[in-house]
Symmetry: C2
Subunit: 375 residues, 2 copies
C-alpha cells in the first residue's frame, strides 16, 4: 500500500503541474467521458446512486491489481465488498477461454443485469471486460477506468469491445458503450516506458487524420507523459468521429489509418511469439500506409518525410522482412474493414486530412512494405 | 428433393385452406416481420439488392438441412453459391463450443461485415445463429427464417439472441435485430407433433398476458396447425410489447410469464438428460405461476381452473417431484430476471392481464410447486 500511495503522490505532483485537478467532461453524445482525478469524477456519485444496491465486480489484470486497485479500494468505501477478477496480463490472453472463466465467476457471484462491472486496466481489460459485460445476460452495465495511455486515447472510447480469435484481432465483439469512462492521467505514472510509447502512436494517428496544428504541437511534446491538454485533444478527436458514425459505416473508418497494416503485423508477430505493443505496430503501419498515401492518394513527398522522420525517430524497427510480406497480406484479407477481395484502406490526402475506402491491390501494398521494411 | 417437394406441396394445400398466399407485414418499429410464403416475401428482393454482392452463409440444423434447405436452394438461385453450416440439432448444442466452430468456418469463408447470415431453423438456430452473427466482427447482418412454431411466435421476434452456459439458459447473448424475419407457416408441415405442442405454449402465454378474447379463441383451435390468423395475433402481441421496451426494463418482462419456473425446469431436466421441449416446460411453468398468481396477485380461482384444465389437457405431466424443488429454486436465483436475492416473477391479475416485478420468497414458490407437482 505504501508503494501505491507513493505512486499516487508522484502522480499528483505531476498532475498539479498541469493544473488539472478539475475534472473535464468531454463533449460526446454517445460516450460519457471524464478527464481528471478519479476521486473528483462522478464515479463516486454513480456508485452511490444508480449502483447503490448493485454488486460491484472489478476486472483488473495482474499489473493493475498490484498498482491501481489498492488505490481504489482505499479511496472508495463503496468498493469494499466488491469482487475482484484478475485477468492474466497480455494481448495473448484476450481470448474466449478467459472470457469463459470470467462468465463462470459471474455465475458463481450471481451477477444480475442491474449489477456493475468496473474495468480497471489497459486496452485488453477494457476491450475484453466490455465484451464480457455486454454479452453476459445480454448486457450488464460497465464503467471503464483506463490505466494506460493507449486505453485512454483509444480503446476505452467509442464503444468497441472485443477479443481475438486465433491470429485475428478483435474478430469477436460487440458495439457497446460504457456507462462512464474516466481517464485519470495519474495512473500513467505506473506505466512502463514502452507502453507510453505505444499509446503515443494513437495520439499521432488522431493528429494525422484530423489536425495539422495538433500534429505540429505533438512534435514539440513527444517526450515524457503527455499533458492533459494533449490527452483531451486526442480523446475529443476520437469522440467526435465516433459520434458521427458509431457503427463504422463511413467516417469512423478514418480511425483505421495505420491499422490495416498494423493489425496484420501485430497478429503475425504475436503469433510468432515476438513481443510487440499495439502502438508500435500501428506506428509502423502508419508509415507503410503513408507511403501508400503518397503513391495512391495525394500525400505530398515532404509530408511523407515528416511522418517518416517522426516514426523512425520514436519507434524501434520491427523484426519484419520480405519473407513474411505474403503472410501479412493474407491476414489483411481477413480484416473486418474489407468489403471484398481487395483490401480496404484509409489514406492521407495530407497531414490532418484522411479519406476512407481506398480498395487496393496487393502490388501497391507490397511496394510500400518494401519501402519501409525492405533491405 | 422429391420428398421436399411433397412436403411443400402438402404445405401449400394446408396453406391455401387459410387463404394466406399474400404476405402479411406485421406492424413493428423494431422488427421487420413478414408472415406468408417465403417466395412471396421480400426475401428475394433483399438478396438481389442490399446483399447482391454479399457472401451468403446459411445456418441450419440437421433437420432443416434435410427438410427445408433443399426448398430454398431450388427456389432461390441467389443462394446457389451459399455456404451451408449445419449445427448439431438440439438445445444441448446451444453452447459456446459450437459457436466457436462456426466462427472458425466464418474465418475460413472470409466472412466480412457486409455479408449475410441466413438462420433457417427453430429457436436454437435463430437464437444461436443470431448471436454468432451479431458477435462476429461486431455484427454481420442476419435474416431469420423460423421453421418451428415456437421460433415463429417467440424466438425469432424481439431481438434476443443467446446461448446457454452450463445449466443456465441464454446466459450469454446480445440484443440484436435481424434484418428481416419471415414466418412461413408451410414449414410447419415438417414439424413433429411434440414441437407443435411446444410452440403452442408460447401462443397460450401471449393470450394469458394480453388478451382474454384471444385466449377464448385459442381454446377452440388448439388441435392441429394454428392458422395464420392465430399466428399473426400471437406474433403481433409479442412485437407490440417488444416495441415498447426492447431492452426489457419493464413492459417486456410480461413475456417472462411462466418462464421463471419454466426455465429452471428446462435447465434441470436437460442437465439430467431428460428429453423435454421448451414449450412443455413453459406450459407447466405457467401453471405453477398461475397458482402463485392466485395466491399473491388477484387471479380468480375459476380462471386458475380454466388455465389448469387447458395445461393438464394439452401437456403430459413432467418427471418432477418434491426431491428437486430445492434445485429448481437455486436455478431460479441465477435467472437473468432477478434483481436481488428474491426471485422476480411476472404474474397474472386475470386472464389477459399480467403485472411485472413481484419479488417472492421461496416458501410461496414451494407451495405452488407442491400444488402442481406434489403427490
Amino acid at each position: 500500500m505504501r508503494f501505491q500511495k507513493l505512486k499516487r503522490f508522484s502522480c499528483f505532483v505531476f498532475y498539479s503541474i498541469f493544473k488539472t485537478k478539475m475534472v473535464k467532461k468531454l463533449a460526446s453524445k454517445n460516450n460519457k467521458i471524464e478527464l481528471g482525478l478519479l476521486e473528483n469524477s462522478s464515479f463516486k456519485a454513480l456508485l452511490n446512486s444508480k449502483y447503490q444496491f448493485s454488486k460491484k465486480i472489478v476486472i483488473v489484470d495482474e499489473n493493475t491489481q498490484e498498482l491501481c486497485w489498492p488505490f481504489l479500494l482505499t479511496t472508495f468505501e463503496e468498493l469494499k465488498e466488491a469482487e475482484v477478477i484478475v485477468l492474466p496480463t497480455g494481448e495473448e490472453n484476450k481470448v474466449m477461454e478467459v472470457c469463459f472463466q470470467v462468465w463462470g465467476a459471474f455465475t458463481n457471484y450471481q451477477v444480475q443485469r442491474n449489477d456493475l462491472i468496473i474495468n480497471l486496466g489497459g486496452g485488453v481489460v477494457t476491450d475484453m471486460g466490455g465484451f464480457i459485460a455486454s454479452v453476459f445476460k445480454r448486457g450488464v452495465d460497465f464503467i471503464n477506468i483506463p490505466t494506460t495511455l493507449l486505453a485512454m486515447v483509444d480503446a476505452s472510447v467509442g464503444g468497441k469491445t472485443g477479443i481475438n480469435l486465433d491470429v485475428h484481432k478483435n474478430q469477436l465483439g460487440v458495439f457497446s458503450n460504457p456507462e462512464l469512462t474516466i481517464c485519470d492521467a495519474s495512473f500513467l505514472a505506473t506505466l512502463p516506458e514502452k507502453e507510453m510509447i505505444s499509446g503515443k502512436a494513437e495520439i499521432i494517428k488522431h493528429a494525422l487524420i484530423n489536425s495539422r496544428s495538433f500534429f505540429d504541437e505533438l512534435t514539440q511534446y513527444l517526450e515524457g507523459v503527455p499533458n492533459d491538454e494533449i490527452l483531451a485533444k486526442a480523446i475529443q478527436i476520437k469522440a467526435d468521429i465516433v459520434d458521427q458514425d458509431f457503427r463504422e459505416q463511413g467516417e469512423r473508418k478514418k480511425l483505421n489509418f495505420g491499422h490495416t497494416i498494423g493489425h496484420s503485423i501485430e497478429g503475425l508477430l504475436l503469433h510468432n511469439k515476438i513481443e510487440v505493443t499495439h502502438g508500435e505496430c500501428v506506428a509502423w503501419g502508419m508509415l507503410v500506409e503513408a507511403y501508400i498515401s503518397h503513391e495512391v492518394a495525394t500525400l505530398p513527398k515532404n509530408e511523407l518525410q515528416e511522418i517518416e522522420q517522426l516514426i523512425r525517430g520514436q519507434y524501434e524497427t520491427l523484426a519484419i522482412n520480405d519473407t513474411i510480406f505474403d503472410s501479412l497480406i493474407q491476414l489483411m484479407k481477413h480484416d473486418k474493414k474489407n468489403n471484398s477481395d481487395k483490401i480496404n484502406f484509409t489514406l492521407l490526402q495530407k497531414i490532418g486530412l484522411a479519406k476512407i475506402n481506398y480498395q487496393l491491390e496487393e502490388d501497391v501494398i507490397l511496394r510500400a512494405l518494401n519501402h519501409v521494411f525492405g533491405q
